[in-house]
């Protein structure tokens, strides 16, 4: 790209600012929905914060493997233009027609040529940057191996000998004359997800972060644990390199207004973050290490997060201290750290020694992003987070500009992903409707029929610059390859993946009429798709290519031993040829897409989704179990933030009822279901006569909601003075006079939640209590309100309402799960007796009103029935279980199914609305397609061999195989995940996994040992 100011005219695209996980998700959702995206990131590679994490809660998965596909995916999408090292200079225009000036810093490296061979980095590490950007304490040459783009960048100012630098690059990719590029683009909408930075504890000298090397932030600890981190995964104290015996975490650093410069909000993710680090630490070192978490409230309010907390306590023996740390210091002549702290139930000061202390630092908006907001004309709140409109947290004060992720407010990865998708949905809706470009296959070349041909293999070997060529003699390799059976031609191909070479290979395939191709180069993980596309263009079935990974598996790891490297490369190529010879053309499974949508559940979530998708022109069937729309929200009056829920719901209902594209079924009951993703058939009975009809639809969205819990505890339904928070709210609203006469009000938290029967946290109750407490005080400032709680879980900005309630005199008293409060009837009132930890005595309050925070429980009956009919997984407590807790929070494991709102887990309205929009976006990625491509890697049963033994049926991790009417095992390619477990277990050898057929695997084995046997 040359340095001229190119002026864009089209405004039919979305600008996404920030290439972190959220930005990538937004971009992918839009792109997969056939919408154009410009994704800009100021960094050298995309990936953001998550690429620095070792493992993530609550699955303790390794992130590299989970995030990598997403990154390369985003690189491939033809709808996405990726601009790294780029920042927003200026914004003009309005929703639907913005023009944005972007500035790209010079990388001094031509991305088209660079192969990330690393030569330049080897020679001039001091000024060549390979995806850098780690925090100062965790330097590592590589942030993660799947960096996108796979390219270096150069800090030319530091460069002393430019000539030498330029010459060192075998690909001639270094361009010292590279200039900053100013570019103006037009777009219809903008999504901001630049993320947030983390609180810097340096100024807090009493924590010793600046002076004591063994005091680290949670992210730094993460780097130390990470396999790709500075210590390559060895846990050691930075000061002395010894493995710590005692590690402590201090929560709420930079959050809840606790320290100078801290945000007044709760940073939302730190509790789980610390839990995870403690658990992973325990997992790895068990008895050898002691882990302690110093905290005020454990805020594990997310889906199944409470279980995670219980595991930390019961299984891993992580120690929890409800306390306020006072200072950390290192006494003279001691290596270890001394922490002084006070417990919340006494004023006594304690001292304890630790080898390492981890500060759970919270989120903070960065100056850059504040600047960005200013440029965008986005209004910020007192915490410098964007003010969002009404009940939709991704909508800013500036029409056409949307926000997602930690830039919007502190949050963890799943919520970031949800918001990212929601933002994609909102932004996508702003795009002008335009005719879809012709689908790819039309431009693709017609495929050559090779069924009658002898295998004719072409072997192309990359030197990948020094990477391969520098270690082994590629020409020798070519000679050897040429002699292999079925090989018609073998060539050296320089940088095989460079545009030039790709063209050569394509030409050779066509001229020589090759019918199999073997590439000797790098990893199929990163490059297979690239070469598959190439074959397609050359008129060959894309599954006829095989890659021998002679770079990552030979030259890179045996560089010191050229002979061995050569010998191994020969073997790898021989194996690849053997496998390629057996390769057969495969057709991707594909189905025509039915573009109708079935939305189950007519609450806020269901209606919101329905509306969004209807607006995009899709036919919606909205099925509601009860006789009217609105769901649980009908019982709500105001949100904590003061939005009028009834007005909102009423408006939503009218819109839905009047929308031509939405067909509503009330008293609807799903009775049967069949078909596959993109072409479902669902039977439903609805209306007073339970009239049956079958709907055809391509996508199913579950928004069946949850129930408000009502356990028979604390005289609920026995004394008139006892109400649920829901009822309290209504009562306050309807009887202000009565409220005026109240003297004492008590609220009990976690009623029927966080118990043995219902172990999870209901998430909404703490803010409910605060909401009602404040409302009561509005009417009757004299009343005394006692809130009996276990942990106050007012996450995010709710924390500020919590503080407000405290300052207004609401009395918060913690009770222990083992000694809950007791309630006795006292005439029209009730006597509530609780044990006050701080006073150390029992106290009885005669309350005019006792509000029970009963929270939510799953609608077990409906979810169970639907789960059975749709064959969907559920959590133990009866909520629908998403496919991937972190990366696919609203997708179900069965393609074509999505879940949103309280059917997923307890939520506030705004959170449900966000998920509803997210689901709309995810659904569009499917609905945009004309056909659904299911890939080719699926298991196939040979019915002539099948003994119907059921072993595959039992072995399949996804319950896909079944014995069909003809008495043979049948595997639906649309449902098969392609793991091959059934293949390996089938006693009749009746199953083969396409692309990984047994004869191909065995061919590799045979080829490998050919030499030995000969």
């Amino acid at each position: 790209m040359q340095n001229s100011n190119t002026i864009e005219t089209q405004n039919n695209k979305v600008l996404v600012v920030g290439g972190g996980l959220g930005g990538i998700r937004t971009a992918l959702d839009l792109a997969e929905a056939d919408k154009d995206v410009v994704l800009v990131d100021k960094d050298f590679t995309i990936g953001g914060l998550m690429t620095q994490l070792d493992r993530t809660f609550p699955t303790n998965n390794c992130d590299l493997c989970t995030i990598a596909p997403h990154l390369s995916e985003s690189n491939r999408q033809e709808h996405i233009e990726l601009m790294t090292m780029t920042s927003v200079e200026n914004v003009a225009g309005e929703k639907g027609n913005f023009s944005v000036t972007l500035k790209t810093k010079p990388r001094f490296i031509n991305l088209d040529k660079c192969t990330a061979c690393g030569e330049c980095f080897k020679q001039f590490p001091e000024f060549v940057r390979f995806s850098p950007g780690l925090d100062h304490r965790a330097p590592t040459c590589m942030r993660y191996p799947q960096a996108t783009p796979q390219a270096f960048s150069i800090d030319l100012d530091k460069c002393t000998d430019v000539k030498a630098l330029v010459d060192v690059c075998p690909a001639g990719a270094i361009n010292p004359d590279d200039m900053p590029i100013i570019r103006e683009i037009k777009c219809a909408a903008i999504v901001l997800s630049p993320g947030a930075s983390l609180f810097d504890p340096t100024p807090l000298d009493y924590l010793g972060y600046a002076t004591l090397p063994d005091v680290v932030t949670s992210l730094e600890y993460e780097r130390i644990l990470s396999a790709s981190g500075p210590t390559s995964g060895k846990l050691v104290c930075p000061s002395n390199g010894r493995q710590p015996k005692k590690v402590a975490w201090i929560q709420c650093i930079g959050s809840r207004g606790l320290q100078k410069g801290a945000g007044a909000y709760c940073s939302n993710a730190c509790c789980m973050f610390a839990l995870k680090e403690a658990i992973v630490t325990k997992e790895r070192f068990q008895e050898d290490i002691e882990t302690t978490i110093f905290y005020m409230d454990m805020r594990t309010f997310g889906k199944d997060y409470e279980l995670y907390l219980n595991r930390a306590i019961n299984e891993y023996g992580v120690r929890f201290l409800r306390s306020r740390p006072h200072s950390i210091l290192q006494k003279d002549g001691e290596d270890d750290l001394t922490m002084t702290y006070t417990m919340d139930d006494s004023t006594k000061q304690f001292e304890e020694k630790f080898d390492m202390v981890v500060l759970s630092t919270g989120f903070k908006t960065s100056d850059e992003s504040r600047l960005l907001a200013a440029k965008m004309g986005v209004e910020l709140n007192s915490d410098f987070f964007p003010v969002t409109v009404g009940l939709n947290p991704v909508v800013t004060s500036k029409p056409g500009v949307y926000v997602a992720g930690t830039f919007e407010s502190p949050k963890d990865i799943p919520e970031t992903m949800v918001q990212a998708s929601a933002a994609a949905c909102m932004a996508g809706a702003d795009l002008p409707k335009y005719d879809k470009k012709p689908a790819e296959e039309s431009e693709g070349v017609r495929e050559r029929d090779i069924s009658l041909e002898e295998p004719k293999v072409g072997v192309f070997i990359c030197d990948c610059g020094e990477n391969i060529g520098g270690v082994i003699d590629v020409e020798k390799l070519v000679e050897h390859a040429a002699k292999l059976p079925y090989v018609a031609i073998a060539k050296a191909e320089g940088h095989g993946c460079s545009r030039l070479s790709m063209a050569n290979i394509r030409q050779t395939i066509e001229e020589e009429q090759l019918n199999r191709v073997v590439i000797g180069g790098c990893s199929p993980r990163t490059h297979l798709t690239k070469f598959q596309d190439l074959l397609g263009k050359a008129g060959l079935n894309k599954y006829l290519v095989e890659i021998a990974n002679i770079r990552d598996q030979a030259t890179w790891v045996h560089s010191g031993k050229p002979d061995e490297a050569t010998a191994k490369a020969k073997d790898l190529i021989k194996m690849a040829v053997g496998s390629a010879v057996k390769a057969q053309p495969l057709t991707d499974q594909s189905l025509p897409m039915n573009k109708n949508v079935l939305v189950v559940g007519g609450g806020v979530t269901g209606m919101t989704t329905a509306l969004q998708l209807a607006e995009q022109g899709f036919q919606i069937y909205l099925a509601e179990k009860s006789d009217k729309l609105g769901g649980l929200a009908k019982q709500l009056i105001k949100t904590l933030e003061g939005d009028d829920v009834q007005a909102f719901v009423g408006d939503l209902i009218t819109k839905v009822q009047n929308h031509p594209k939405i067909q509503i079924f009330t008293r609807a009951m799903i009775v049967d279901h069949s078909g596959m993703p993109g072409m479902f058939k669902t039977g439903m009975q609805s209306g007073p006569q339970m009239f049956y009809r079958q709907l055809e639809h391509g996508v199913t969205i579950l928004a069946t909601g949850a129930l408000s819990n009502r356990p028979a505890l604390y005289l609920l339904d026995q004394s008139a003075a006892v109400r649920t928070q829901l009822e309290t709210q209504k009562y306050i609203h309807d009887n202000p006079q009565a409220v005026k006469n109240w003297e004492n009000v008590v609220m009990i938290q976690c009623v029927g939640s966080r118990t043995a029967e219902n172990p999870n946290c209901s998430r909404i109750c703490c803010q409910n209590a605060i909401k009602n407490a404040l409302a009561i005080l509005e009417i009757n400032p004299e009343v005394r309100i006692f809130v009996l709680y276990r942990d106050m879980r007012t996450y995010g900005f709710q924390e500020e309402y919590y503080q407000k309630a405290r300052s207004k005199g609401v009395i918060f008293v913690r009770y222990d799960v083992d000694s809950p409060p007791s309630v006795k009837a006292a005439g029209a009132q009730v006597d509530v007796t609780y044990f006050d930890v701080i006073l150390g005595m029992k106290i009885t309050v005669t309350a005019d009103n006792l509000s029970l925070s009963t929270g939510m429980i799953a609608d077990i009956d409906s979810t169970e029935e639907l789960a059975m009919i749709f064959k969907l997984p559920r959590t133990n407590d009866g909520y629908f279980l998403e496919d991937h807790v972190k990366l696919r929070p609203v997708d179900m494991s069965v393609p074509g199914f999505f879940v949103a709102g309280t059917a997923h887990s307890p939520k506030l309205i705004r959170e449900s609305v966000t998920q509803a929009n997210a689901v709309a976006a995810r659904a569009q990625t499917m609905l945009a397609r004309e056909i659904i491509n299911l890939g080719a890697a699926s298991a196939r049963v040979d019915s002539n061999l099948c003994a119907a033994c059921l072993i595959c049926v039992r072995a399949c991790p996804f319950d896909v195989p079944f014995i069909n009417a003809d008495g043979y095992s049948e595997i639906d390619p649309a449902k098969c995940h392609g793991c091959g477990v059934c293949v390996a277990e089938c006693p009749a050898k009746a199953i083969q996994l396409m692309q990984f057929e047994d004869d191909r695997i065995l061919a590799q084995v045979e080829q490998l040992f050919e030499r030995i046997n000969a």
């Binding site: 061999l945 003994a947 033994c949 059921l950 072993i951 039992r954 072995a955 089938c986 006693p987 009749a988 050898k989 009746a990």
Partner: protein, 222 residues
């Protein structure tokens, strides 16, 4: 289903030592289902024998073939074209299959590769348990659908012996007391008094007591 288990390799090697060319047979019925002698096991055994023989210094040639059902002569006919190129046959089918092959090819030594164990049902993936002994005169109607012949260590037909403890058989804690099961069933069905009828001494003729058994369906038999 008939269940079977592969014989120890040594025993099999002893059988085939004298031979150079082995035809290794599988069966796609019961032994496939109980993972003892299907195509997969045939492949595994072929490799195993190959290697083991190699260690004994002899390089043998093993041809693998799996029949749809080795206990039916028509299927066994399939072997005609390949039988001459083998010095001996080893079959992973149940005893019936092995004999069927032996009967068909009188001049070929035929060896069993599995021990045919019992008629069983699969309890779960990879677990099979004995359920029937083919006594030829089914008692299940009297015993709540649980067979005391196959499942009681003493084949007691009139109730549990003194060794029944905690629902388990005296011979092992892993074995359920058949009579406990029967009793529980009868109670569940409200048929307790069934138990009081004395089941008379069994006529074992139907159970093989009077030599090999045969079933003839006149209408079908030719």
């Amino acid at each position: 289903m008939i269940t079977a288990e592969r014989k120890p390799l040594e025993e099999l090697i002893e059988y085939i030592k004298p031979f150079k060319r082995i035809l290794l047979l599988g069966c796609n019925e019961c032994v496939t289902v109980c993972a003892a002698g299907g195509r997969k096991e045939v492949g595994l055994l072929a490799s195993g024998l190959q290697m083991a023989m190699l260690k004994n210094g002899s390089n043998i040639e093993i041809r693998q073939h799996t029949l749809e059902r080795q206990c039916d002569p028509e299927y066994v006919e399939e072997l005609v074209p390949m039988i001459d190129s083998a010095d001996a046959v080893m079959s992973m089918a149940c005893g019936c299959g092995v004999q069927q092959v032996a009967m068909r090819f009188k001049d070929k030594p035929v060896f069993p590769a599995v021990n045919t164990t019992f008629m069983g049902a699969s309890e779960r993936q990879g677990v099979w348990a004995e359920r029937c002994q083919g006594c030829g005169n089914c008692l299940l109607g009297l015993t709540g659908g649980i067979c005391p012949i196959a499942r009681c260590a003493k084949q007691l037909m009139n109730g549990p012996c003194g060794g029944s403890t905690g629902g388990k058989c005296e011979i092992s804690n892993d074995v359920d007391c058949a009579w406990q099961l029967i009793w529980d069933r009868l109670k569940a069905l409200g048929l307790q008094d069934r138990y009081l009828d004395i089941i008379p001494a069994k006529d074992w003729r139907s159970g093989g007591g009077s030599g090999p058994r045969k079933i003839i369906r006149e209408d079908l038999a030719e």
